[in-house]
C-alpha cells in the first residue's frame, strides 16, 4: 500500500484540460490526484456489528462527493469517526495533507473540517442570525479577556454580520433573521445549519443528509449553491440515501453497504453497478445477474 499520509504535489489542471477527477478509474480505493481526505483501515464495531470497515478511501479536493448507501450502511458512523465525534477501533486518516493524530471535533473543525448533523442541531434559543454568527471562525470576542470590551470585537462582528446576512439571503432565511431558531420549520433548520457550516469557512464541508425534509425547490437551490462553492474550491462530501438525488449534483459517488465501500466512481457509472443495485434491492439469485 502506498504511503498516503505524505502530501502530494498539486497537479493543478491547466485550462482546457478535463477535470482531474474524471481521469480516476472507478475502482474501490482508487487514488485521487489531489485528495483532501485519505482514510486507511478504518474500523468501528458496535458489539458484534461492524458498522464501518474501510480499507482505503480517498476523497478528492474541490469536488462534490456523495456518500450513498442503504439505511444502516454506516454512512453517519463514518462521518462521526472522521470528524472526531466517535472513536475508531483501528485506522488512521489524514485531512488536508495532515495526519489526524488525536481527533477532537473542535480541533478538526478549526482546521476546516465542518460537518452538519442528520438530526439538525439548531440552537433553539439563539436567534437565526446568532446561529450563523456562531459559525464565524477566529472571533476575538470569543476570548474571555477581550469579551467585555465591545470596541475590540465590534468591527469583526460587523463584518461577520454582513457575511451572515448574505448567507441567510441565499438560503431564504433573511426574513427570519431575528427570530429564535427554535421557531423555524424542520426544513428551514436544515438550511440554517448549512448556512452556519458555510459561515465557518470550511475547507471540507460534510453534510449529513442536507436535503432530508427540505422542500424540493429549496433543496435544488441548496445543492446548486453547494456545487457552485465546490467550483470555487470548497470540497464537499454529503450523505444521501436516495440514489437518484445524487446524479445531478455530485462529481463522484462512494457507495457504502454494511460498513464497506462497495463501489465508487462517477455517478452515471455507479448507479449501473451490479453490486450497488444488489445492495439497494437485495442480492439476486446466483447466476441471475451479469
Amino acid at each position: 500500500m502506498p504511503d498516503d499520509l505524505t502530501p502530494r504535489p498539486e497537479p493543478g489542471p491547466a485550462a482546457g484540460e478535463i477535470e482531474p477527477i474524471l481521469t480516476v478509474p472507478p475502482e474501490v480505493g482508487a487514488p485521487k490526484p489531489n485528495p483532501i481526505l485519505v482514510v486507511d483501515n478504518l474500523t468501528r464495531s458496535f458489539g458484534g456489528l461492524r458498522a464501518v470497515d474501510v480499507d482505503h478511501l480517498e476523497m478528492e479536493r474541490g469536488v462534490v462527493t456523495a456518500l450513498i448507501g442503504p439505511n444502516g450502511a454506516g454512512k453517519t458512523t463514518l462521518f462521526n469517526l472522521l470528524t472526531g465525534f466517535d472513536r475508531a477501533d483501528t485506522g488512521r486518516w489524514s485531512f488536508d495533507g495532515q495526519p489526524v493524530t488525536s481527533p477532537s471535533p473542535d480541533q478538526l473543525a478549526r482546521k476546516g473540517m465542518i460537518r452538519t448533523f442528520q438530526l439538525t442541531k439548531s440552537l433553539a434559543k439563539l436567534t437565526v442570525l446568532d446561529n450563523v454568527l456562531l459559525g464565524a471562525p477566529g472571533q476575538v470576542g470569543e476570548r474571555l479577556p477581550v469579551a467585555p470590551f465591545r470596541s475590540r470585537w465590534r468591527h469583526q462582528e460587523q463584518a461577520n454580520t454582513e457575511r451572515a446576512e448574505e448567507l441567510l439571503e441565499r438560503f431564504n432565511l433573511a426574513h427570519m433573521r431575528d427570530e429564535l431558531a427554535g421557531t423555524l420549520s424542520g426544513g428551514q433548520r436544515k438550511l440554517l445549519e448549512v448556512a452556519r457550516a458555510l459561515m465557518a469557512e470550511p475547507v471540507l464541508i460534510m453534510l449529513d443528509e442536507p436535503m432530508a425534509g427540505v422542500n424540493p425547490a429549496l433543496a435544488q437551490s441548496l445543492m446548486r449553491h453547494i456545487t457552485l462553492l465546490a467550483y470555487e474550491g470548497l470540497s464537499v462530501v454529503f450523505i444521501e440515501h436516495a440514489m437518484d438525488v445524487v446524479t445531478g449534483i455530485s462529481d463522484w459517488v462512494v457507495v457504502l453497504a454494511q460498513g464497506r465501500v462497495i463501489a465508487e466512481g462517477p455517478p452515471w457509472k455507479v448507479i449501473h453497478d451490479d453490486e450497488v443495485i444488489d445492495a439497494y434491492l437485495g442480492r439476486r439469485r446466483a447466476g441471475a445477474g451479469s
Binding site: K125, P137, E142, W153
Partner: protein, 335 residues
C-alpha cells in the same frame, strides 16, 4: 395585627444582607445554569469556601481581613477547577451529582470535630471584622437609624448592604458585558447543544470551565459578604437548601436574564419574611383557636418556606419564564 411591622420586616429582609448573599449566589448560578446549562447543585459549596476562607484566614491564621477575602475567592476558583476537571467532560447529570456531593462533603469535613483546630468544627468560627467596619461612613451611634418608618437599618447594617448592593451591581454589569459578547454566544450555544458548538470549532470544555469559575467566584463573593456580616461562619449555614433557594430566586426572577436573579432574590426574601411575620402576628391574635395557634407557634419559618415553594409552583404554571424572562424562549423547551 400590625401590617406596618410586617411590611417593615419584609422590606428589611428584601434589601438586607441576606438578600445580597442570595442575589450573588443566584447571579453565579445564572452563569452556570442560565447561560451555560451547567446543572450545578452545589453552589452553596462556593459560598462556604468564600465564607470560611475569609473567616479562617483571620481567626485562625491572624491574617488581615483583606487577605482573607482574597483567600476566600481563590478557594472558590480552586473548587471550580477541582470540580470541573473530572466532570465537565461527562454527562450533565454526572456534573449535578458531583456538585451536590462535593458541597456536602466540604461542609461535613469543615464541621467535623477533627477540624476544630482549623475551622472551629461544629462550634463555628468567629473573627473581628473591624477592618471592614472601620471604613463605615455612616454615623453608627446607638440611636442612629436609617430608613422610613419600620423599614430602617443601623449604620453598620447600612454599610454592609451598601457595599453588598454595589458589589451586586458591579457583578451584574460584568456578567452583562461578557455574556452579550461572542463569548457569551458560545456559552449559550453550549447550553443549547454541545455537539453543535464542537462541530463549529468551539472548545466546549474550556468554555464550561470558564463559566464554572466565574459563577463560582460570584458565589464565593456571597460567602465573603456572609462572613463579614456575621463576623464568622457556621457549618449549618451552608446546607444544600442554600443552593435550592438560589435556584428558586433564579427561576422566580428569570433564568438567563441579566437582572432576573437579583429581582428573584429580593422577591424571595420579601415573600418569605412577609409570610413569616404575618404568621407570627397571627399566632398572637386572640380570635385564633388555640389548636391553630399551637400549630403555628414555632413553625412560622417552615410554613413561610413552604409558601415560597407554592409561589414557585404557581409561577411555573402561570409565568414559567420568571418575572423578566422571555416567554417564547421558554416555550421552545416544550418542543
Amino acid at each position: 395585627m400590625d401590617f406596618d411591622i410586617i411590611f417593615g420586616n419584609a422590606a428589611r429582609a428584601a434589601f438586607g444582607p441576606e438578600a445580597v448573599i442570595l442575589a450573588l449566589a443566584a447571579v453565579g448560578l445564572n452563569v452556570h445554569f442560565g447561560f451555560t446549562g451547567l446543572l450545578n447543585f452545589g453552589q452553596v459549596g462556593f459560598l462556604l469556601l468564600g465564607a470560611y476562607g475569609t473567616s479562617v484566614s483571620v481567626a485562625t491564621f491572624g491574617w488581615s481581613l483583606w487577605v482573607g477575602v482574597v483567600v476566600g475567592l481563590v478557594l472558590s476558583v480552586a473548587l471550580a477547577v477541582a470540580l470541573g476537571f473530572p466532570t465537565l467532560r461527562l454527562h450533565a447529570v454526572m456534573f449535578a451529582i458531583v456538585t451536590i456531593a462535593a458541597a456536602e462533603i466540604i461542609r461535613i469535613l469543615i464541621g467535623s470535630t477533627d477540624a476544630i483546630g482549623l475551622t472551629g468544627g461544629p462550634l463555628s468560627v468567629s473573627f473581628d471584622a473591624g477592618a471592614f467596619y472601620d471604613l463605615n461612613p455612616y454615623p453608627d451611634g446607638p440611636h442612629d437609624r436609617y430608613g422610613i418608618g419600620t423599614f430602617e437599618f443601623t449604620g453598620q447594617q447600612l454599610w454592609v448592604i451598601t457595599v453588598g448592593w454595589v458589589l451586586v451591581a458591579l457583578v451584574c454589569l460584568a456578567v452583562f458585558l461578557i455574556v452579550r459578547s461572542p463569548w457569551g454566544r458560545v456559552l449559550k450555544s453550549i447550553r443549547e447543544d454541545e455537539d453543535a458548538a464542537r462541530s463549529l470549532g468551539k472548545n466546549v470544555f474550556s468554555y464550561k470551565m470558564q463559566a464554572l469559575v466565574i459563577g463560582g467566584v460570584i458565589g464565593g463573593m456571597g460567602g465573603v459578604i456572609d462572613a463579614i456580616k456575621t463576623s464568622g461562619a457556621d457549618p449549618n449555614g451552608f446546607r444544600p437548601q442554600v443552593t435550592f433557594f438560589a435556584y428558586t430566586a433564579l427561576l422566580l426572577g428569570g433564568s438567563a436574564t441579566y437582572l432576573g436573579p437579583v429581582l428573584g432574590a429580593i422577591l424571595f426574601w420579601f415573600l418569605r419574611e412577609w409570610i413569616e411575620s404575618f404568621l407570627r402576628q397571627l399566632t398572637a391574635e386572640a380570635w385564633l383557636p388555640d389548636a391553630a395557634a399551637d400549630f403555628l407557634d414555632g413553625t412560622e419559618g417552615v410554613i413561610s418556606v413552604a409558601m415560597v415553594g407554592l409561589a414557585l409552583v404557581l409561577l411555573m404554571l402561570f409565568r414559567p419564564q420568571g418575572i423578566v424572562g422571555n416567554r417564547t424562549e421558554m416555550q421552545l423547551d416544550a418542543r
